[in-house]
Symmetry: C2
């Protein structure tokens, strides 16, 4: 079966307090997509963060001594480093431009996923502040948000669907960012193929597929990076059946991590 990823058209700009499930439902209508059982909506982290009001202005941040020390090493604004530390459990590496951390949500990423670009200095939250000073933090609880959006879409459509919130992460050994799951509901994070026989009847060795991350990468490709105009992707043909996955399924336990 084919896998089809379609960007929702004319998705509105999102502001703090906006109702994302409603926006998605309306945009599905404008895109002439009628939901079916097994469809998945993939949602860019940025619009979830904006809807949750996870926007901070640097002028409101007081850096700690540790943030000031780290900022000198990574050549960043100490107030931005302070936000990175507040959003993180542990600092893994520091180099100019980059702090690699374990985020409070459990994954390893650069700069705690805090983003400069595309933050709108909308009237509700900003006065005459430096428009470059707005930063967007990751959503508070992306699994819960994915679940809430999924339930709203299921109630509206009468179909069983999935919801996946994604961000773009760098990798340890490869260049370029790829989309990864940071919150999910109604689809599996990992699919365990251990023990299923292959074509010749041998038992497969350990194979766990990062299915939600593979879908995140696929949707990220369709979203692009600069295109805030397509923050939601409709997916049809996801090859695994619905299941209650969660972000933590995809995170390697610290004691199995060979690369800290």
């Amino acid at each position: 079966m084919a896998l089809t990823l379609t960007p929702l058209t004319e998705f509105p700009l999102v502001r703090p307090g906006d109702d994302l499930a409603l926006f998605i439902w309306q945009s599905l209508g404008r895109s002439q997509i009628v939901l079916q059982d097994g469809d998945i909506l993939v949602i860019a982290q940025k619009i979830v963060s904006k809807a949750e009001g996870r926007i901070v202005h640097l002028s409101h941040i007081e850096p700690s001594p540790r943030a000031i020390e780290l900022a000198a090493r990574c050549e960043k604004d100490p107030r931005q480093v302070e936000l990175v530390l507040r959003e993180s459990r542990e600092v893994l590496r520091v180099r100019p431009g980059t702090i690699i951390v374990e985020h409070r949500l459990g994954f390893v990423c650069a700069n705690a996923g805090i983003d400069h670009s595309n933050v709108s200095p909308v009237a509700e939250i900003g006065e005459a502040l430096d428009p470059e000073g707005w930063l967007l933090l990751l959503p508070l609880d992306p699994d819960a948000t994915a679940c809430a959006i999924r339930q709203r879409l299921e109630a509206a459509s009468g179909c069983q669907v999935g919801a996946l919130i994604i961000d773009s992460h760098g990798r340890a050994w490869r260049l370029g960012t790829v989309g990864v799951a940071i919150g999910l509901s109604g689809l599996p994070g990992l699919v365990d193929l251990r023990g299923e026989p292959d074509l010749f009847g041998y038992k497969l060795r350990i194979t766990q597929v990062g299915a939600a991350d593979e879908l995140a990468a696929a949707a990220s490709l369709v979203m692009g990076q600069a295109a805030e105009g397509t923050p939601v992707i409709h997916v049809r043909g996801f090859p695994y059946s619905a299941r209650e996955g969660r972000l933590s399924d995809l995170l390697r336990p610290k004691d199995e991590d060979l690369f800290r």
Copy 2:
């Protein structure tokens, strides 16, 4: 524009010496797909390795003293470890069941990408050897193979297409394998969005998208892991224009690697 990934149907089992470009062309016909400019064919590493005859039987391998020493630490067959060493430039980590190496092709992966499962003990290459002893090595030069397949398909179709050879890799900090590019031709590996303005006119910070890896993950999702029956995926709607990418575009230079 939508991205559509369609598995080619009735793809034959591949044996050493087989003509993959011909198989793909024929399977496109059976799948009633007419190639268009910009289409991409994503090909599983396994069938490239098989066509190249990269099949080795453990009984033909003499382990070195270093392989015997490492095999004790990782609890693997010393002959298999010998093959891992021959296919690698450097050993990064060793733990029971896994050797993390820099492969001779330049990427970091587990066990040099050497695979047990789905190797057919076909009459041409095997006698009465233990059928579990066959191992499949990665292709010799996947960029070159992707280029050759692309050129054959372009000559047959009169269209400009891309070819991408993929494998599944684990990640440092996340569970589950995801598809990654190991050879490509006619599409970009990385897409550089540095300096393009965002919706509000700000300059985006450094953003390089691992576009070929995102497509590899998408296609891997459609292939599944156990399904050797769908080793080639047809892609329509890849959002970036054709360009001569290569595997090395996607590899982080060793001196920028924070996690060795």
